[in-house]
């Protein structure tokens, strides 16, 4: 799987041919999304008389995994491509969640206002706007300063959510969110089936957009900035403008992820803005491997399934085992799970020759 990124590709041809080759969809990408669709289709299996264990009963968990994956994807865009370290993505996630939640709550019954898709767009817009406004702070300083600044923004948002009780419901969370049917047709059900398909489609659209972006010349300019901002500026890349744009875009995507969570769980609480949200999703990116787009998605799948599995076995001590796995992974595996896989593939290819 040495072809995971374009960086370790060595195709022959003109630069533009190389770009086209790098942007081509590969087999493992079809595999990934194919599995996701199969998981969704498995919900119909009982109707046809098959009995697929576990998966159909875990629709809620799978939607949550996809949503966390989207949040991780937005971090990967910052961290893996533009080299922007952020510890505050949870803030935009929360802003998106509250925007979508408030729209669903107060717009209930008012047809166009309460539509979930409009709610998502609003969530993305509001989060993107806040992202744009705070991006100027992020431009200043280097990695460590950026960690502090993004963390600071997240803490401010968290405290605002806590204090603006009349709007957000404070520590008790936003009550009474009733999601309307999607496009007035598909109702959210207790089994989380609608929620899963809705989430899968939204996540795929966002992913496809990001994939186009990072494989364009724009995306390559981001990688140049990550590689060396000074040189990138010397060859004419408008570094600051690019960083502002990508940070804003990542914020908007995180907002959409938050909106999805609020709509599918019909609830928003200060936990959605909390520090552990940002930290967990950063962990997922590192877990899966930064700079591949798939890293965040795969990281969130593995991370949440591991969490669910361990906490079912030992509800009291599961955090300990999660910690052990994380330490081992960081110690022995470089570039996360994707790094591990691609190393295994290239080794088997080498042996075959």
């Amino acid at each position: 799987m040495s072809a995971v990124t374009s960086e370790n590709l060595r195709p022959i041809g003109t630069p533009s041919e190389q770009l086209v080759a790098a942007a081509r969809w590969r087999w493992f990408e079809f595999l990934f999304w194919g599995i996701a669709i199969l998981c969704g289709l498995s919900m119909f299996a009982p109707m046809l008389g098959f009995n697929v264990p576990i998966i159909p009963s875990k629709m809620m968990l799978m939607s949550e995994i996809l949503i966390l994956g989207l949040l991780a994807l937005s971090i990967d865009l910052c961290l893996g491509y533009a080299g922007l370290v952020t510890l505050g993505q949870g803030a935009f996630f929360g802003i998106g969640a509250y925007t979508a939640g408030l729209l669903a709550k107060h717009g209930a019954g008012v047809a166009p206002l309460s539509d979930p898709i409009l709610g998502l767009l609003a969530a993305g817009l509001v989060a993107g706007f806040v992202g744009f406004a705070t991006s100027f702070l992020v431009l200043r300083g280097s990695d460590l300063t950026r960690l502090m600044v993004t963390l600071g923004v997240a803490l401010i948002v968290e405290e605002l959510v806590n204090k603006l009780k009349d709007i957000t419901g404070g520590s008790d969370g936003l009550q009474g969110v009733m999601s309307s049917p999607i496009l007035g047709i598909w109702e959210f059900d207790l089994f989380g089936k609608t929620a899963f398909w809705y989430t899968l489609i939204v996540v795929f659209v966002c992913f496809w957009f990001c994939r186009r972006l990072v494989n364009s010349s724009y995306g390559y300019s981001l990688r140049a900035i990550k590689g060396n901002a000074l040189r990138a500026r010397a060859i004419g890349v408008p570094v600051n403008a690019r960083l502002i744009q990508v940070y804003t875009l990542a914020a908007a995507i995180a907002g959409i992820a938050g909106g999805l969570l609020a709509q599918t769980t019909q609830f928003a609480s200060p936990d959605m803005v909390a520090f552990h949200r940002s930290a967990d999703s950063l962990l997922m990116v590192i877990f899966g491997g930064a700079g591949y787009l798939y890293g965040g998605l795969i990281g969130s799948v593995v991370f949440r399934i591991m969490q669910d599995f361990l906490s079912n076995i030992t509800p009291q001590y599961w955090l300990f085992w999660v910690g052990v796995v994380l330490v081992l992974l960081v110690l022995f595996v470089r570039n996360g799970i994707i790094g591990l896989l691609s190393a295994a593939v290239s080794r088997s290819k080498g042996a075959g020759k």
């Binding site: 264990p53 806590n162 769980t265």
Partner: protein
Amino acid sequence: MMKRRLLLAGVAAGAFAVPFAGTLASAVAQEVVKIGLIATLTGPQASSGRQKVAGARLFMAQNGDTVAGKKIELIIKDDTGVADQTRRIAQELIVNDKVAFLSGFSLTPLALAVAPVITQAKVPAIIMTAGTSVITERSPYFVRASFTLPQQTIPITEWAAKNGIKTAVSLVSDYGPGIDAQDAFKMGLEARGGKVVEQIKAPLANPEFAAFLQRAKDLKPDALFLFVPAPTAGSLMRQVVDRGISQAGIKVIGTGDITDDDQLNGMGDAVIGLTTSHFYSAAHDSPMNKKFVADFKAANNNLRPNFIGVSGYDGMHLMYEALKKTNGNTDGTALVEAMKGMKLESPRGTFSIDPATRDIVQDVYIRKVERKDGELYNIEFDVVKDVKDPTHK
């Protein structure tokens, strides 16, 4: 080798338990009734989860796991104290495990998050901790086995007024139950001729109270009223002692949450004499409670039961009695109806479920911290009988 294989089989069985439990149940003649217990077992509220689970398990150990010819299966899940997890777990327990009851809920936000789910699925949920009045109004399927803050607070204002407290400052955690407690305290004290000089709110997720305590101290009231969730009480009380609030002539009073049995021994002699009002003390003088405390300690490595432990125990008791009354019928609406007006004997004394509000009606005791048999206990010296939540209409 044998052992490892067994272990593997166990793990595999655990992983596949969800889809197969249903077939197993129907294969065996005895039907299984599942009860979901959503506790907070990790994070800052972990001690509450531990108590609740221990209480529920103790009731099952004392009374067997068969009710009305059906086998009771308790499914315990950790929600880490995060509301959207509580909600997802509740949904999974209802949809996958087809539980007859949900129970647990260590904080008000966690209980509120499941309200729409249980209403939609018509599954009764027994509240074993969360103490905001409004919860039971959010779904007709909530029944409370714990307490409400106004119910616990009003009796202490009566005591305060009788004991010459004219001015007071309240310091509470800034969330549902805290606001309930501060409002009830102000209402109760001012109705009895006292005055609340200032109401201070501290953030819920903040173990640092120094600045708030200093402000209270500077106001020089007759009394300082405190409420924080029990797992935070230990650190609050240490800071109350450090600030020398009592030495400044300010009487420290509160609901029993701040002298939580689970942590009282660790607070030291400085809390002796602290007066609180609450529905349960491990030192409550009744044969049933003596047995409860002894069995609880024996089963849990000498852990002393607190009000959450007893609520877990009584919550389980409620569910058992409801199943007996419906003769094993697990229809949610029938179960809720069965619990309405139910009157049960408990280690805390007698309690009943108000048929109108599904909230708990119970005796509230006025207690003082004293040293007894070398340990610190809340010793009850006065009681207000059959207290209802005063804020329900």
